[in-house]
Symmetry: none
Subunit: 260 residues, 2 copies
DNA sequence: CCCAATCGTGCATAAACGTGCATTAATCGA
DNA sequence: TCGATTAATGCACGTTTATGCACGATTGGG
């Protein structure tokens, strides 16, 4: 037996292994591929030099992709947002078309989506699109237009025109304020316009809201909170607000705090 | 026996073999086809130059158009790409409208752009858009559409329609192969279509190309290399290729290696 | 602090490689 | 039909590449 592998094949096999198992051991690979450990070590050294893995004592690890400033910037209270995300992704079901709006909580949702989910996700936010690119099951649609850097997404005329061609099953809105009276609100005019349009075109609307936004209103109205809207809130959300939302016909889901 | 094969027949047989078995060995082919290994090696070399396979020590592999996602490709030879980027950004001048195509080298260019630059950048690549969001001087326009995850960008009908509304001063193309005869080429049909359209609409075209792509051709043609196009190449670029590009009227810029 | 596992380097070897040249077969104009 | 030209192939040669082994250095757990 012992189908001998070409150098290139061996390296790409190692890369696969790195990706799927999260690490490789030089000794194991040598035994498994019928080559000496020296050869494996050479491979790993070269791959590390090429930036394809991180060499460690005994084997190699996948290179943690830069990720960097961008995504970490959004990391304010990441566990709380992650908890909201876990509670929200249940609403995204197989085969649905979902609009995922800008916002750091929504970025957390994008990251939490299962790699196995098969659905169509539409977004106007490059950072969210990049995150979703890692999920092989998704069909991804990007909404273009002028990028507003305070919002971090495409809003404005061009984006609206793109949005007018859509009828999502679900719209997951990012929001800057959520109040029973004022409804969902946004800081920026163009952003609010865009949100209003896409929410109106969607079969249902969901917003995951951190507690600090509850009971506050930003300058620009998006939509009222009533029947057809779902709010995902944190465990400590004030009872008064929650009761008011429910009284207006909204569904409210409380996210579980992470165990342990 | 030994029905002798014509050169063409032999090559297409090799291609079939590549497709069905995922690899070929020079020695096996020579024995099987009753020709010398030299002949097989010549065939493989020519096929590789034509972009039909990847030549490796011992045989050849099918061309993996995949080559990993954009963010993975970006980790490959980062210093060399950074050098190309430094040599390229000089072409982006104050006030210009520039289309920045997908590609790992172009991602390096995006990262290298000065925060002080005031220009309009158009891109179809979420990862590049995210990187550019950090540069406060830029006016950013995102081209939307279906995201192709192997390309890492929006290509296809919707993106083309958006592109048709543009007349950039400069188009910075990403490329999968650059050859004096074949011109710039791409792995994916839709990607090539999009590149061709946007390049044709631009006042000038620039491509920063790593040396490993020189003299190779991918399956889909984008544009020829001639007057009006600028190539930014690495310091070690083969003189023959460079001379051929210049002979066809292209401008060639050689990137300086990083001092120290 | 010690020991075993792991590492990098230098070296040897065989396989695979590219190039130049000779031979053969096919093509073409006269 | 004949000579000239071109393309394809094989062979000889020196070069490069991949690999394993030997050796001393380094690492990290106990």
């Amino acid at each position: 037996m012992s189908t001998e592998l070409l150098l290139r094949e061996r390296k790409s096999l190692i890369q696969d292994r790195l990706k799927t198992e999260g690490r490789v051991l030089a000794a194991d690979l040598a035994r498994e591929l019928n080559v000496s450990e020296d050869t494996i070590r050479r491979d790993l050294r070269e791959m590390a030099a090429a930036g394809l893995c991180e060499r460690v004592y005994g084997g190699a690890l996948p290179l943690a992709p830069d990720a960097g400033s961008l995504s970490e910037r959004a990391a304010l209270a990441p566990e709380r947002k992650a908890a909201l995300a876990r509670a929200s992704i249940g609403f995204i079901q197989h085969g649905m078309t979902v609009f995922l709006d800008a916002g750091s909580t929504n970025l957390a949702i994008a990251r939490t989506i299962s790699p196995d989910l098969s659905a169509t996700i539409v977004t106007n936010t490059p950072l969210i699109a990049s995150a979703l690119m890692e999920k092989p099951g998704l069909n991804l649609i990007l909404i273009g237009g002028t990028l507003d850097r305070t919002v971090g997404a495409a809003v404005g005329a061009r984006a609206q025109r793109d949005a007018e061609l859509l009828r999502p099953d679900l719209c997951i809105l990012g929001t800057c304020g959520a109040d029973a009276e004022a409804g969902l609100t946004a800081f920026h005019l163009e952003d609010a316009e865009f949100k209003r349009l896409i929410a109106a075109r969607s079969r249902s609307v969901l917003a995951a809201v951190t507690s600090d936004k509850l009971g506050t209103a930003a300058p620009h109205a998006v939509i009222g909170i009533g029947s057809g809207s779902t709010l995902v809130l944190e465990a400590g959300a004030p009872e008064g607000e929650v009761a008011a939302f429910i009284a207006q016909g909204a569904s409210v889901v409380i996210a579980e705090e992470r165990a342990g």
